[in-house]
Symmetry: C2
Subunit: 220 residues, 2 copies
DNA sequence: CGTATAGTTGACCTAATTCAAAAGACGTGG
DNA sequence: CCACGTCTTTTGAATTAGGTCAACTATACG
């Protein structure tokens, strides 16, 4: 994740910072891609809205995440701020121009997008192979891992249940029931809307995916 | 897809060709990445085997597809030939060296992997948002589209039902039932194991995904 | 403290899985 | 070219996980 900085810092000094309030749209799928973004504070949800109105969230951009890196002329996802959010904006043309000249930089883009493919594949696995409780357990563990390598037993959930549901391909009621099951099994504790305490990390990991392939959904 | 050639032809002349028989392994997830491949003939399935033995297929590499482009030191997926298959092998180091020197080439890699992200996202949408019949309809249309832009009403299915099931996140029985439904609705005709005739393209498209976003699962 | 919004819980329903068995396809050797 | 055996695919019946609809509760915010 500090890699994000490495990448974008090379586009200095054309960088400006923008602020967004809770649920403010950053961009929409299909918009002309003017900027790539680095999340400085807050969270961004990345999603597609389907023709029938359903929504699929592909990931959450936390601090240090870069957004909008794919090589497309328009954004391939929509992005919405979750909570008060601050984003560094890098002009996409600057990024492209640099990449066209500097092979090392272009390779970094290539690597960054490769990581994105991997993350998306992990999501595919979650969606098609895990049951609802496993999905939620997995999700919580991913959030926990993000903080301090592995532990961090107190997890902040900036996103609401609907965001989680749309990410994990389930309904909010099912998310709720899954959390309830985890509570009942004494693996976690739910502290208000947006905090969760992990009470039995090992147990949660066991439940999450049989073997704990060390990566999992890393679509941060 | 001719883009594949554009990319790999630049790695000339270190290219050799290998032949594989039906179901022969090309490489396994985790193997050291020595080659990237261009499919010259036949088909390759790209998949992960999960700890519990389940399998998720991420796509099928048909003629002209490139395989193993992601920037990883080991293969992130396993690959298996479907039918007699011929692959052009490009040394991965050659590819990397070229990319390190040639920004334009590195950008091509970046673009190729970006397309892969998009394809994988389409798979996510299929898996989490579509019912079984829609999934199969969608799959058939993708295969059909691949041939001559849009039409090609006679589809060859080199892969078996299990491959399809593992791709679409369902059981083979469900694939079978979905096909049966499509037959009953007079949208397709099943001709033996590995051929399907589309009888009502428009109807199939209607069923496949409400709006026909022109791309869909393009994980060829 | 009261209201609006978000989350939870319960009862019922549906789509897909599971298990089991039948039918069909395909290659082989007669 | 047909008969056989194997493997793949299809079909059927029972089960189940998750979705749906509706009521209820908790939380946050003014």
């Amino acid at each position: 994740m500090p890699k994000a900085n490495v990448i974008l810092s090379q586009c200095w000094p054309d960088v400006i910072t923008k602020r967004y309030h809770d649920r403010q749209q950053v961009f929409l799928e299909g918009d002309e891609k003017r900027w790539a973004y680095l999340v400085e504070a807050g969270t961004v949800s990345l999603y597609k809205t389907l023709p029938d109105g359903k929504r699929q969230v592909f990931g959450f951009g936390f601090r240090h995440a870069i957004i909008g890196l794919e090589a497309t002329e328009t954004y391939s996802l929509s992005a919405q701020a979750i909570g008060i959010t601050r984003l560094k904006c890098v002009p996409y043309t600057a990024l492209c121009q640099l990449a066209a000249k500097d092979a090392a930089f272009a390779l970094q883009l290539y690597e960054a997008v490769s990581a994105e493919v991997e993350a998306t594949r992990d999501l595919v696995v979650i969606l098609s192979q895990h049951g609802s409780t496993e999905r939620v357990a997995n999700f919580l563990l991913t959030l926990a891992r993000r903080k301090f390598g592995s532990s961090a037993h107190l997890i902040a959930l900036p996103m609401n249940r609907l965001d989680i549901a749309d990410f994990l391909g389930m309904k909010i009621e099912t998310v709720s029931r899954a959390l309830a099951k985890l509570v009942q099994s004494e693996l976690i504790e739910v502290l208000g809307r947006s905090k969760i305490q992990i009470k039995d990390m090992a147990g949660l990991q066991r439940l999450a995916g049989l073997a704990n392939h060390v990566r999992e959904v890393s679509n941060l």
